[in-house]
């Protein structure tokens, strides 16, 4: 293309950046897909707002200890079935004692067994969101329960994603017998209804705990629901990823890597893995919303986090039979749960749009 001897400036590959340098001094940089995604995400204020909400909830729950020592002075399992609390300087029973009083000549019955409701600031930081039937502080338990729910849901999602990615890489890269076996394992787990399989495993494990392969877990360990939930969701991530890897496996860059003498491990982890990273990230946000909801469902039914440990699910169950008299026992835990899952879902949507507007990854519930 370059012509010589005409006095015309020779066109070289540097020209574009030289021109740019002359114009505004800005260099033209290569932009990675991650940077482009971040630029799209940065403009999605709704998604960022809900990411903020989620971070706030996580922070609040992880600071539950500070709330107890500075505000409520009541631990997560401190019961108070017969005591009193000072409300605006007057002692009031935490759990109402049944009695009949005469008000204006009419007998007025006060039912026994009803815990006090939300006090906001009236009781000096105690029972801000009310008490439950054992006189425990609902606000404290919402925070500690949140910590447990987020731990179980979050760790389960991480374990599930790591295992699924590993299995999908093995199946997709090696194909053949490895693929057949792993796909059949996915099919088998898939054949069970998620909640039922979770309940089945959760209940069976909580009978005596888990004492195999040198791992000892008691029946009330948080690791039991965590492991159970991680296990039941494996095919929901593993299947779509396996499909993607099978397709990537045929591409030229894998052949090129093989030609360069790359081993199986290097191709799997430094060639294939980066190519599915954005799908993994999106699937992770979808799965963490599902694991947190599943934890709540299992705990609500008694097959997840074991009482007296609080979790948002067990708290919803605690208030189930006090609905008419003390709706706050279930309400706050459920509200926090819904808000957490909503913020993950909204942020996850934004992340998916930012990473790949055309992507079609989703999880069936």
């Amino acid at each position: 293309m370059a012509t010589t001897g005409t006095g015309q400036e020779e066109f070289t590959l540097d020209t574009a950046s030289e021109l740019a340098a002359e114009e505004g001094g800005a260099r033209i940089e290569g932009r990675s897909p991650w940077l482009l995604a971040w630029r799209r995400l940065r403009r999605n204020y709704v998604a960022l707002f809900f990411l903020g909400v989620f971070i706030l909830i996580v922070l609040a729950c992880s600071l539950a200890g500070l709330y107890v020592s500075h505000v409520s002075h009541l631990g997560e399992n401190d019961t108070n079935p017969s005591g009193t609390v000072l409300i605006n300087g007057k002692p009031v029973h935490v759990i109402s004692q049944g009695s009949t009083t005469i008000v204006n000549g009419q007998p007025k019955i006060i039912f026994g067994g009803v815990p006090i409701g939300p006090q906001w600031g009236a009781a000096g930081g105690k029972y801000i969101l009310g008490a439950d039937v054992l006189g425990r502080d609902v606000a404290t338990r919402v925070l500690y329960g949140g910590a447990n729910s987020l731990f179980v849901g979050g760790v389960a999602a991480i374990i599930c994603t790591v295992l699924s990615v590993f299995l999908a890489l093995l199946a997709g890269y090696f194909g053949g017998a490895a693929d057949w076996i792993i796909s059949r394992v996915f099919d088998l787990i898939w054949a069970f209804p998620v909640v039922l399989l979770g309940i089945a495993l959760g209940t069976a494990l909580s009978v005596n705990g888990f004492h195999h392969f040198g791992i000892n877990l008691s029946g009330s360990s948080l690791w039991i629901p965590t492991a159970v939930i991680a296990f039941v969701f494996i095919p929901y991530i593993g299947r779509p990823l396996r499909g993607q890897i099978l397709a990537l496996r045929q591409r030229e860059f894998v052949e090129a890597a093989t030609a360069q003498g790359a081993g199986s491990l290097r191709i799997m982890f430094s060639e294939l893995l980066p190519n599915i990273a954005s799908s993994v990230l999106v699937l992770f946000t979808l799965i963490i919303a599902s694991t947190i909801l599943t934890e709540a469902g299992l705990s609500f039914l008694g097959a997840g986090v074991q009482p007296p440990n609080p979790s948002w699910g067990t708290m919803i169950a605690d208030g189930e039979h006090q609905l008419a008299n003390a709706p706050w026992i279930s309400f706050w835990a459920g509200l926090m749960l819904a808000l957490t899952v909503l913020s993950i879902n909204v942020f996850g949507d934004g992340l998916r749009d930012a990473l790949d507007p055309r992507a079609k990854v989703r999880i069936e519930h």
Partner: protein
């Protein structure tokens, strides 16, 4: 077609055999400690335990135990460890109740899901679409147990000042054959509780399917042919976009029938299959859970085969292999 169906049925039998083995592993191997110890109580003599073991067939090797478990489930002789009631009988009694809940909820979620998804896609990007998208996101984020309790509190419990009084009964179930009006009246809240999640989910899926289909060649052809936008939407776009929804519906419906409605049934005291399983959790009574898990898995396996066949029928591009 016939060869495909036969192959799928053989595959189904294989999967169900494997499923029953997993159920055996979960309920007989994992608990480790033997159920005989728990049944015999705290002051049991070794002879006592041995006789219970023998009665339950726990003194055999694992292949025979697995075989016994499957046999007792198929022949309907599996009994609860806790109260000795017949598990298969209890599941059979729960099935019409669970069906009533799921069929109603299924109709609601399919109907509303399609409606909401279509409206959202037609008004894509506008206020209506944004509102529906936001509501759908909230719908898929609500915990079922909490939603059920909130609806009960607002519409069924006589709360302390809160709520709208008692518009609906606080749960329970009236058989359809006994009183159809009471049947529906008792099930309205549970139907919606179960359906909300799926309405949100289907609405979102359908919206994106329609938006994808609009750019397909056959839609352009229809437009070029001079069809009205309503005709294009109903006869071309919607019809093609609904195929994945059919698949989803088949699988979700199977999961819900197979015990996935357990939380809704528990909250509303609807004595279906899920409720039966939930009762067994508290007493750590494994046989009912075993029965219900196997029952649920059977539903999913059978339905996913049906869905594959339906899919091939609906979409001529799919080849049966």
């Amino acid at each position: 077609m016939v060869a495909f169906i036969i192959r799928r049925i053989l595959g189904m039998i294989l999967v169900l055999t494997a499923v029953s083995f997993i159920v055996y592993l979960i309920f007989i191997v994992i608990p480790g400690g033997d159920p005989a110890d728990r049944i015999a109580g705290k002051v049991a003599t070794p002879a006592n335990i041995a006789s219970i073991k023998h009665k339950l067939g726990l003194d055999h090797n694992f292949i025979i135990q697995w075989f016994d478990m499957v046999k007792s489930l198929l022949s309907g002789t599996l009994v609860s460890y806790y109260d000795g009631t017949n598990v298969v009988q209890q599941i059979k009694e729960g099935i019409p109740v669970t069906f009533s809940l799921c069929v109603g909820a299924g109709i609601i979620w399919l109907g509303f899901g399609v409606l909401v998804g279509t409206i959202s896609a037609v008004y894509a990007g506008r206020f209506t679409d944004r509102t529906i998208t936001a509501l759908a996101l909230i719908g898929i984020s609500l915990p079922v147990a909490w939603l059920g309790l909130i609806l009960l509190y607002l519409f069924a419990e006589q709360g302390l000042g809160g709520g709208f009084g008692t518009l609906f009964p606080p749960g329970g179930y009236v058989p359809l054959t006994q009183d159809p009006i009471q049947w529906a009246y008792h099930l309205i809240l549970p139907w919606f509780t179960l359906a909300v999640l799926f309405i949100g989910f289907y609405g979102r899926v359908l919206r994106s399917n329609i938006l994808d289909t609009i750019n397909e060649d056959f839609v352009r052809t229809a437009k070029a042919k001079g069809l009205s936008s309503r005709q294009i939407l109903v006869k071309h776009t919607l019809r093609a976009s609904l195929i994945p929804i059919v698949t989803l519906f088949g699988l979700d419906f199977a999961a819900v029938l197979g015990g996935g409605a357990i939380i809704t049934e528990t909250v509303y005291q609807i004595h279906g299959v899920g409720w039966y399983a939930a009762q067994a959790i508290g007493t750590q009574d494994l046989p009912p859970l075993m029965g219900v898990t196997l029952y649920g898995a059977t539903f999913i396996v059978v339905f996913s085969t049906l869905v594959d066949v339906a899919y091939a029928y609906l979409d001529p591009r799919i080849r049966l292999t």
